[in-house]
């Protein structure tokens, strides 16, 4: 099936979720999301970095330069308490939204 475009704003919450696994650099986050999306989401890499910078600007995540196993310089991101709170809220909203829409769409037709 054709991968779906990621809806606006959803990328942010996906990134936050990824980072609850621990500090990651940009590629790691991309790989993590792609893995769990199992091909259903079409993530444009540059959009991910836009999202990362936005999150960093509102201090939901923080960034430091570090070094990978292969001695490469990489920018690592980690989630902040404010980010965790945002994740909780947005997850709750998303679930509620999804539930409501799903509920409406799966309403059986009247006989």
């Amino acid at each position: 099936m054709e991968p779906l475009a990621v809806l606006r704003g959803t990328l942010d919450v996906l990134v936050l979720k990824a980072l609850t696994w621990g500090p990651m650099h940009g590629f790691e986050i991309t790989a993590w999301i792609e893995e769990r999306a199992t091909g259903n989401l079409d993530v444009v890499d540059s959009a991910l970095y836009q999202s990362l910078y936005r999150l960093e600007e509102r201090r939901a995540i923080a960034a430091t330069w570090g070094v990978t196993e292969n001695n490469r310089k990489a920018r690592y991101y980690n989630i902040t308490p404010a980010g965790r709170a945002e994740l909780r809220n947005e997850t709750a909203r998303w679930l509620r939204y999804a539930e409501t829409v799903t509920g409406i769409l799966t309403t059986p037709q009247p006989a």
Partner: protein
């Protein structure tokens, strides 16, 4: 996946070198050369790094899945997104992020600093309060002086459009004695000529402020009214609150239309602030004016004092002069002219044009005389017109008041410096106690910059607290001073939160805080970290002590400078007050008649004057009464004097003519030194006589007896007047250096001109004024009006600068003294506390309490003495600049210097007494044991 190391180690791999953006040097080269990247370039470089890294990782992953390197890199690029589009957007987002984060960082740092500061302040409330109070005194003094100087020299009138292009017109011409005469008062005719002809101006107005009796009967008050031309209103951006302003039609010569515009305050207080004030009548002087409008709140024309109403200048002028001639001839110079420069016209060009029109005006006037006069070319060449700044004290006739005020602003700044030195000393002392804490922080890795910011935040916060208190001090405490020194200004119109003063005070507080905190902050940072962390370190020696002593010395020196200034000005004031004016200003009233267009012939006029005089002399409150015309500091009539056999007597000085009658000298309090006075007995048919002033006699008839000599007044065709009496000199225009000579002629022998009456009352003249005025009023024909005023009020402005100087210098000098004393006490006390061990040793070795006391006192006195010597040297150098502001006092007056030095020495001894006592009470056992 967590990073292995967080130390920014760089790898040599660089698959997408094409990503380096435009830069002076490619980031890699810069990094290689270890040049620190500028922040913007750094963000760009880092973003590029990140992108590059991502692409590399993606490519690696794809290669691992079996693609070739080139295919992998191409696919990586494709999945990233179109690089030419995407990279700029990412760079922009990264920069924005960085700016926001930096801002957050700074706010966080500030918030932490503030929190820390307030915690420190709360921990030592007494200490903090003392610091804040010290600042409050210094900043408050400066805020007060700023308000005064601002009003004198800088603040433009409210609502004035384009205020830096508006100015006041001054006309210069040479006098007969060679000096220059500068007039800001000109005749209506001249105003009209200059207004019509000068193309350099796109707006011009005639203005005149006068004190008039407003209202009737028991409600009558002497208040300031503004006489303005209709062209005055368009120069302001102040639409009327209700009603309208008068138009050119209502301001036509000869008599205008009797309408009035009220000020906001007067409208609220006297007319209830309702719109039915329009159409009501306002009685000003002898005339009724119909109210047509009200000015907005805060409007006060161009004057400092409270103007309650504005009248068309032609309407009120006719009442003043009683004749239509005021606008046809130049004999009355009374109004002032203000004008606005046309856009693009320079002041120099306007001055040139004014000059040529003024010269032409003089030539025209001379040609129109019944006996045409000529003006000498040399005189004409020195005839000039100029437009000067609107504020009177910035024009060519600036009073010394403004100069004194400016000096005082400098003095206030010195007081603030002394206050800063105090606070700095105290902060340094406290900083020594906090060495340990600061050392710990340095050891924990707080950067120097951060530490300095923190320490500076403390002093700035204390300074701002002090500034707020100082503002309150200036508003209420300074209020009394302001009213004393600038009584003309209506201080009730000044709000507490005036923008300019607030701005000034905030700036002063911040600068003060930074300045004061710098020395202690830098000192704290030079702390030896290891030494501080060790216990048992004794404190307070070496470099810090030197700085503290230096601060104390400068405080003492500055205090002495101020005290010298205070002493000099106080002596000046005393000299002024006891100087011989030549007349007695107490209990003097002056009456001027406005004949309101009533035409009287000369004999009728004379008869009326005599009747009024006779009546005045019978009134119970009147001790003496006479007529006069020239009044010191107010109005003068000068004429040429020709002495037979002497060439150009006129050129020597200005001769003030005063037509008088019996009792003039007794009424004025001017002593008649020799001979007799002149009066009614010297009528028109009697021999022409005069009384002259002592200096006039000495100048014109050196070595001879002036009595019996004669001179011509006005022209040598007039009869030669014989001198029959010599009177003492009167100061007419200048308290310090009056160059006028006076002569008194019988009023019957000089022709009937508008007479004025002078009255010496037996009691308080202010209470007697209105009843006396009414007595005269009933005797005037038709709608004539009698204006009365107290003569002491004309003297006030002349005395003001001395009073200003003496009062403010004394206040500031004492303030400085108090601050220096407190500073001296604090430092000596602290020092002794640190030296307790040493004191204990001394006592243990046999020192008596007397010895200890002497030691401490000597320490204080030594610093004060050196500082005093320094201050005296500075004062010796500096006071010559104020010599022109003093009155009969030398700038090197030894008594002033001696008293200033003596005062600071006494204060130093007093400040050291308490610590000395404490030092003598030390228990050697306790002191030696303590650590």
């Amino acid at each position: 996946m967590a990073p292995v190391r967080r130390d920014g180690h760089r790898d040599s791999d660089d698959p997408a070198a094409s990503l380096t953006g435009p830069a002076v040097l490619p980031p890699r080269v810069r990094r290689a050369l270890l040049i620190p990247l500028r922040r913007r370039q750094r963000v760009e470089a880092e973003t590029d790094d990140e992108i590059r890294f991502h692409l590399a990782m993606r490519a690696d992953a794809l290669v691992a899945r079996g693609l070739s390197r080139e295919e992998a890199e191409a696919e990586a690029l494709r999945r990233f997104g179109a690089l030419e589009e995407v990279r700029p957007r990412l760079l922009a987002a990264a920069k924005h992020r960085q700016e926001t984060l930096t801002m957050f960082e700074r706010f966080d740092a500030l918030r932490d600093d503030l929190r820390y500061t307030f915690r420190q302040l709360r921990r030592a409330p007494g200490f903090s309060a003392a610091l804040a109070l010290t600042f409050a005194l210094g900043i408050g003094a400066n805020a007060t002086m700023f308000e005064i100087v601002d009003r004198l020299l800088f603040r433009p009138p409210a609502f004035l459009d384009d205020s830096d292009r508006v100015g006041r017109i001054y006309l210069r011409r040479p006098r007969a004695d060679g000096t220059e005469r500068i007039d800001n008062n000109i005749s209506y005719l001249r105003y009209a000529e200059l207004r019509d002809k000068t193309r350099a101006f796109d707006a011009a107005a005639a203005v005149y402020q006068d004190e008039r009796v407003v209202g009737t009967g028991t409600d009558a008050r002497m208040l300031y009214v503004g006489l303005v031309s209709s062209s005055f209103w368009p120069m302001f951006d102040a639409p009327p609150l209700i009603g309208r302003y008068f138009t050119a039609d209502e301001d036509r010569t000869p008599g205008g239309t009797p309408v009035a515009v009220l000020s906001h305050g007067y409208w609220r207080s006297q007319f209830g602030g309702t719109s039915d004030a329009i159409g009501k009548q306002l009685r000003v002087g002898g005339k009724q004016y119909t109210i047509i409008g009200v000015t907005p709140k805060g409007f006060n024309a161009i004057w400092q004092s409270n103007t309650i109403a504005y009248l068309p200048i032609t309407a009120a002028a006719f009442e003043m002069f009683g004749t239509e001639r005021y606008y046809m001839e130049h004999n009355a110079s009374w109004l002032e002219m203000i004008a606005r420069l046309r856009p693009g016209v320079t002041r120099a060009a306007a001055n040139a044009e004014l000059t040529s029109h003024f010269r032409q005006s003089r030539l025209d006037a001379a040609a129109r005389q019944p006996e045409p006069q000529t003006i000498k070319p040399a005189d004409l060449a020195q005839t000039r017109g100029e437009i000067a700044p609107l504020l009177y004290d910035r024009g060519p006739k600036a009073t010394d008041s403004a100069k004194v005020a400016t000096w005082l602003a400098g003095v206030a700044a010195i007081v603030l410096l002394i206050a800063c030195a105090n606070v700095a000393n105290l902060l340094i002392a406290r900083g020594i106690r906090r060495r340990r804490e600061i050392a710990v922080r340095v050891a924990l890795g707080v950067g120097r910059g951060r530490l300095i910011t923190q320490l500076l935040t403390e002093s700035v916060v204390i300074a701002i607290l002090g500034g707020v208190a100082g503002l309150a001090l200036a508003h209420w405490g300074g209020g009394a001073l302001r009213r004393l020194l600038l009584p003309d200004v209506d201080w009730s119109l000044v709000p507490l939160f005036d923008a300019r003063v607030l701005l000034f005070t905030s700036a002063a507080a911040i600068v003060t805080g930074l300045l004061t905190g710098l020395a202690p902050a830098v000192h704290a940072l030079h702390a030896d970290v290891n030494g501080a962390l060790k216990a048992g370190e004794r404190e307070g020696g070496g470099q810090r002590a030197r700085l503290r002593t230096a601060l104390l010395l400068s405080q003492a020196a500055l205090s002495v400078v101020l005290l010298v200034g205070a002493a000099l000005f106080v002596r000046s004031l005393r000299n002024v007050e006891t100087s011989r004016l030549g007349w007695e200003p107490e209990r003097m009233l002056h009456i001027r008649l406005d004949m309101q267009g009533v035409e009287l012939s000369d004999p009728e006029r004379l008869a009326l004057n005599q009747r009024i005089l006779d009546r005045l002399r019978t009134l119970p409150g009147v001790a003496k009464a006479s007529t006069a015309f020239s009044i010191p500091f107010w109005s003068t009539w000068s004429e040429d004097v020709i002495v037979p056999g002497m060439d150009s007597a006129s050129r020597l000085r200005t001769y003030v003519v005063n037509p008088v009658t019996d009792d003039y000298f007794a009424a004025m309090g001017t002593r008649l030194l020799r001979g007799r006075e002149v009066g009614v007995a010297d009528g028109a048919k009697a021999p022409h006589v005069a009384v002259i002033s002592e200096s006039m006699g000495k100048l014109l008839w050196k070595g001879q007896d002036p009595i019996g000599q004669c001179f011509h007044l006005g022209a040598d065709t007039t009869p030669c007047r014989q001198v029959v009496g010599i009177a003492e000199d009167v100061a007419f225009g200048d308290l310090k250096d009056d160059q006028t000579l006076q002569l008194y002629v019988p009023s019957g022998q000089i022709g009937a001109i508008t007479a004025r009456f002078i009255i010496r009352t037996s009691g308080d003249e202010r209470a007697a004024a209105e009843p006396i005025r009414r007595e005269v009023q009933v005797m005037l024909p038709g709608t004539g009006y009698a204006n009365i005023r107290s003569l002491a009020t004309v003297l006030d402005p002349a005395m003001r600068q001395w009073r200003l100087g003496a009062t403010m210098f004394t206040v500031f000098g004492l303030l400085a003294l108090v601050l220096a004393a407190v500073g001296l006490y604090a430092v000596i006390a602290y020092d002794i506390a640190q030296r307790m061990r040493e004191m204990g040793v001394r006592v243990a070795l046999g020192a008596q309490s007397g010895d200890i006391r002497r030691l401490v006192l000597w320490q204080g006195v030594r610093v004060a003495a050196i500082g005093a010597a320094l201050g005296a040297a500075i004062a010796l150098f500096a006071t010559r600049y104020v010599e022109s502001l003093l009155f009969e006092t030398s700038a090197r007056d030894p008594i002033a210097f001696a008293s200033a030095i003596g005062t600071i020495l006494v204060v130093a001894i007093l400040a050291a007494v308490l610590p000395a006592r404490r030092a003598t009470r030390v228990d050697p056992v306790v002191a030696l044991r303590a650590e």
